[in-house]
C-alpha cells in the first residue's frame, strides 16, 4: 500500500516533467533548434518543411550506425543483436564507460579531498578549544573520535 502511494507520487512528478517537456515543445521549440548541430554526429538539414533528420531515434555519440539490417520499421521486432556482437562496435561502449569512469573518479577525488580537509579543520578547531585535553601536539588524537562520529551518515 505504501509502495503504491509512493509510486503514485513518483508518477505525478514524472508526469509534471513530461508536461513541462510538451509545453517546451509547444511554446518554445525554436529554442532547441540548431543547438546540437555538429558535423560528424547527426545530420540535421534545415529545409522548407522544418529540419530533416538523418537518422532519428537515439543518442548518437559518434559514427552513427543503425543497428540491425532492417534498421527498424514495421516488419517486426529487430533487436539488432548482430551489431552487439561485432567487435567493431565495441568502441562505442568503451567510450561511454570511459566518460563515466572519468566523471566518477573526479567526483570521488573532490569529495574525498573535501572530507579530508573538513576533518583536519575540525580536529584543529577541537585542539584549539580551551580544555580540550592537552597541548596542540595531542590534538589530532583527541579530535579524531569526535570527527568520526559526526561524519557518520
Amino acid at each position: 500500500m505504501r509502495f503504491l502511494r509512493h509510486l503514485g507520487a513518483a508518477m505525478l512528478v514524472v508526469a509534471a516533467v513530461v508536461v513541462l517537456g510538451l509545453a517546451w515543445n509547444h511554446f518554445a521549440s525554436g529554442t532547441l533548434t540548431g543547438t546540437l548541430h555538429r558535423s560528424g554526429q547527426l545530420k540535421l538539414v534545415p529545409g522548407a518543411h522544418g529540419v530533416r533528420r538523418v537518422p532519428s531515434g537515439g543518442a548518437l555519440p559518434r559514427g552513427i550506425r543503425i543497428g540491425g539490417p532492417s534498421g527498424g520499421g514495421t516488419s517486426g521486432m529487430n533487436l539488432g543483436l548482430n551489431s552487439m556482437f561485432q567487435s567493431v562496435n565495441l568502441p562505442y561502449l568503451k567510450h561511454t564507460l570511459e566518460i563515466e569512469a572519468a566523471l566518477i573518479a573526479a567526483v570521488v577525488l573532490i569529495d574525498a579531498g573535501r572530507r579530508k580537509l573538513r576533518r583536519v579543520k575540525r580536529a584543529r578547531r577541537i585542539a584549539q578549544r580551551p580544555g580540550a585535553g592537552g597541548a596542540a601536539t595531542h590534538a589530532p588524537a583527541a579530535g579524531e573520535p569526535a570527527a568520526r562520529q559526526s561524519r557518520g551518515r
Binding site: 517537456g21 515543445n25 531515434g57 548518437l60 552487439m84 561511454t96 569512469a101
Partner: protein
C-alpha cells in the same frame, strides 16, 4: 538513497562473534542500482547495441527509473523538507538528482516519441518532430554527465555495501 544499510546481527555459529550482514532492502537497492547503471551504459552506447536494444532498453529504463524513484521516495520527501537547513551535502545531491530526473524523463519520453522499432512493433506510429530528436540527444548527453555524478556522490555507501556484498564469506554452519 536510503542509507540505513548495514545491520549488525549475531553470527550464524555460536561463539564465533558477530557477523555483520546486509539488510535485504539495501541489497535490493545496491543490485537494482547496479543494473540501472549497466542498463543506462548499454542504452547510451547506441552504436554498440543497435536501435532495437537501444529502444527497448530505454523503455525498460523508464519503468526502472519510476521504480527507483518510488523506492527512494522517503529520501526525496525527507531531503526536500530539509532543504531550508544549512547542511550543504544533501542539497547538492538533491539538485543533481532533480536535474537527473528531469533529463532522464525527457530523454525516455523523447526517445519514445522518435521510436522507429519499439513503438511501430506495437502498432503505434508516433508523430515526432525535430524538436524531440534534438531534445533526445541533448538530454541523453546531460544524463550521461549526471549519472556518474549521481553514483559518485554516494561512493562511500557503494564502497561500504559493495565490500560486504562482494567479499567471499564462508558457508553457514548449523548446529
Amino acid at each position: 538513497m536510503t542509507r540505513s544499510s548495514v545491520t549488525s546481527r549475531p553470527g550464524p555459529a555460536a561463539g564465533t562473534g558477530r557477523r555483520r550482514r546486509v539488510a535485504a532492502r539495501t541489497r535490493l537497492d545496491f543490485w537494482f542500482d547496479a543494473v540501472l547503471l549497466a542498463g543506462f551504459t548499454l542504452a547510451y552506447s547506441y552504436g554498440f547495441t543497435g536501435i532495437g536494444i537501444h529502444e527497448w532498453l530505454g523503455i525498460a529504463l523508464g519503468a526502472a527509473l519510476l521504480v527507483h524513484l518510488t523506492l527512494h521516495w522517503d529520501w526525496v520527501i525527507r531531503t526536500t523538507r530539509r532543504l531550508v537547513s544549512p547542511a550543504g551535502h544533501d542539497k547538492l545531491i538533491w539538485a543533481v538528482n532533480l536535474a537527473l530526473l528531469a533529463a532522464m524523463t525527457l530523454c525516455v519520453v523523447s526517445g519514445i516519441l522518435i521510436s522507429r522499432v519499439a513503438l511501430p512493433f506495437l502498432g503505434i506510429y508516433p508523430l515526432a518532430g525535430p524538436f524531440w530528436d534534438r531534445l533526445h540527444i541533448l538530454t541523453a548527453e546531460v544524463t550521461l554527465a549526471l549519472v556518474p555524478v549521481h553514483v559518485a556522490l554516494r561512493w562511500r555507501w557503494i564502497l561500504r555495501v559493495g565490500r560486504r556484498l562482494l567479499t567471499w564469506r564462508p558457508a553457514r554452519r548449523r548446529g
